[in-house]
């Protein structure tokens, strides 16, 4: 049981980070970012290149992942999303753009990094063993702690800095924020860059454990959508709860039902649909977000 809980915390902290970036972008621009999973994969590959291939210290490689994705996110927002949002009759057109970007990033990943599964050397060796009740490699514990630390840092940024305040204002009411003197265009770009950066950071963290490959993008996006739905779209605390809940459900389901294969996911999906039918806005979302 302790082992299952520990796995749940570990999965949940990673998932929460992925969901945070997605929900941030959604809250700011009402864009369902289909390319989120691909951004995560790129983050993983950047860390792999710097840390695994060129021997740069891990922390520096992580920073490189963040910087790359932040720049990429900012460019995508400025030159693609912003003009399309301005020019389209229906907001949903951005979904086509997001899907196009997802295809594009997939193609770029395929050309630059190839389709092989890539892994990097462990950052810390050894396994934590508590009486055979909890067995967990040290690197997983470290990554889990780093993930929790980044989530705390992100919340701090959103709550206590001027940028964070502007972003929250933007998420609440775009027009009102503009009238209060928030530079909407600039902060949309910063917000998108921040969301993409979070995806890159998780990618960089997880490459040390699960490795990274081209096919991970799509499934990651779907999982992130689910977490956002559980918690409520566009709500930051909701994304964290969604991540933790999905992490625990997976950990428990895989432990109890491992002999039935994919039944765990079927159960998770079905219970999610029932949950949403009863509470459409998720745990903490505004109705009809």
């Amino acid at each position: 049981m302790e082992q299952i809980l520990a796995n749940g915390v570990y999965l949940g902290s990673q998932y929460a980070m992925i969901a945070l970036g997605l929900t941030l972008i959604f809250a700011l621009m009402n864009v369902l970012n289909f390319a989120h999973g691909q951004m995560y994969v790129i983050g993983g590959f950047v860390t792999y290149t710097f840390y695994g291939q060129w021997g740069v210290p891990f922390v520096l490689a992580l920073v490189m992942s963040c910087v790359t994705l932040a720049i990429l996110g900012a460019l995508i927002e400025k030159f693609l999303f912003a003009p399309v949002i301005k020019g389209s009759a229906r907001e949903e057109s951005t979904m086509l753009l997001a899907a196009g970007i997802a295809f594009f990033l997939d193609a770029v990943i395929l050309l630059v990094f190839g389709e092989k599964q890539r892994g990097v050397p462990k950052i810390v060796d050894g396994v934590f063993n508590w009486d055979f009740r909890i067995i967990m490699p040290y690197d997983r514990i470290l990554i889990c702690l780093l993930a929790i630390l980044s989530i705390v840092a992100f919340i701090g940024l959103m709550q206590y800095t001027k940028t964070g305040r502007a972003l929250r204002a933007l998420a609440q009411d775009r027009t009102a924020a503009q009238l209060m003197g928030v530079n909407v265009d600039r902060y949309s770009m910063i917000g998108f860059a921040l969301g993409a950066m979070l995806a890159g950071l998780v990618g960089g963290l997880l490459v040390t454990i699960t490795g990274v490959n081209l096919g991970m993008g799509g499934p990651t996006s779907i999982k992130a959508f689910m977490m956002v739905m559980i918690g409520g779209a566009g709500v930051i605390s909701g994304a964290i709860w969604g991540g933790i809940i999905l992490g625990f459900m997976e950990a428990i389901g895989l432990a109890l039902l491992y002999q039935y294969g994919d039944i765990t996911y079927l159960l998770i999906f079905v219970s999610l649909m029932i949950f949403l039918a009863i509470r459409p806005q998720g745990l903490m979302g505004k109705p009809w977000g």
Binding site: L32, L96, G100, M226, I263, L272, L276, A277, P280, G282
Partner: protein
């Protein structure tokens, strides 16, 4: 005639001429027989996309058409292989079954709106794929293969539909069948959009509360529309299974559901024939770019991004300008 302008009639006439006579002539002249399969696929995907377009018409983003296409494909395959039905009866049965499932699922989930509905339909595709893997009747990951070709139908000894298995050129037969079903689908869609129900749908697309407050039974209409939409999905899926002669849980996945939605977006959400054009451009374009090998995806996605960047309201918006026709 029937309230159509002569311009419209000429347009429809040219279109019918092109797909029934023009295309076979061109393919015969160039010898690209593989295009039959591509164009048949386009026609079938366009049927399913028409359903997605219809849900857009009541203001819902539907990323779950892959689920209904998969349901349709399985129902038809099981009826033909295990129950020994004729394919031509299993085809509407598959559509109806998909529609019934849509009503049952739609009752709770159609209350959702915006991204919530979009994401739950996305999850629905996963649910159906995983269910197909888990159920015994669908044969799990092995799927159902060796589905016989559609048999002939005759009434009182007069053959109405020929036996596909006895035919030399099944490609051409499937092409015509798919095109006829596609034309019927779009005719039905056009009729529906220009009917009283279509007006009610437009009122819902703009503002559901307002529509409801002036007496539109929105709960009823959205179920009906979702059922029709899924009927198209089931129809397209069943036909696809019959052409491929096999169905697997991976026949229709999340990516397919997303593609159905993209077809509608690309063609333009404001135009009945938008999804048809969108499907043609997306699917045929992908096929044509095959010659670029490993750069296929890169070029394809770049074109997609450029189109949406400069024509955010869909391809058909060039012709009609802003606002435009429906």
């Amino acid at each position: 005639m029937f309230g159509f302008s002569s311009k419209q009639l000429i347009g429809v006439g040219l279109f019918l001429f092109a797909i029934f006579i023009g295309v076979p002539l061109v393919i015969g002249a160039t010898g690209r027989w593989d295009f039959y399969f591509t164009l048949t696929s386009v026609a079938l995907l366009a049927i399913a996309s028409a359903g997605v377009w219809l849900t857009f018409y009541i203001g819902r983003i539907n990323i779950g058409q892959g689920a209904f296409a998969l349901i349709g494909a399985y129902v038809s395959a099981i009826l033909v292989v295990k129950a020994g039905w004729s394919f031509w009866i299993s085809l509407p049965a598959a559509g109806l079954f998909a529609a019934v499932v849509a009503v049952l699922i739609g009752l709770p989930i159609l209350r959702l709106r915006g991204v919530y509905f979009a994401m739950i339909t996305l999850v629905l595709t996963q649910v159906v794929t995983l269910t197909a893997l888990a159920l015994p009747v669908t044969n799990g990951a092995k799927g159902i293969s060796n589905i016989p070709l559609p048999s002939g139908i005759s009434v009182f000894g007069i053959p109405i539909l020929p036996d596909f298995a006895a035919m030399e050129n099944t490609k051409l037969a499937f092409y015509y069948t798919a095109c006829i079903i596609m034309i019927l689908t779009y005719a039905a869609l056009y009729r529906l959009v220009n009917s009283r129900l279509g007006h009610l749908c437009r009122s819902m697309q703009q503002n559901e509360e307002l529509a409801s407050s002036i007496g539109v039974n929105i709960a009823y209409i959205r179920i009906v529309i979702f059922a029709i939409s899924s009927f198209f999905g089931g129809l397209g899926g069943a036909m696809f299974g019959s052409i491929a002669q096999s169905v697997y849980p991976s026949s229709f996945q999340v990516a397919d559901s997303v593609n159905f939605m993209l077809n509608c977006f690309l063609g333009g959400l404001g135009y009945v024939f938008g999804p048809m054009l969108g499907t043609l451009v997306l699917y045929f374009g992908w096929d044509l770019l095959f010659e670029f090998g490993k750069y296929q995806m890169l070029i394809y996605s770049t074109i997609l991004i450029v189109i949406i960047r400069f024509l955010p309201n869909g391809l058909l918006s060039i012709r009609f300008g802003k606002g435009g026709d429906k």
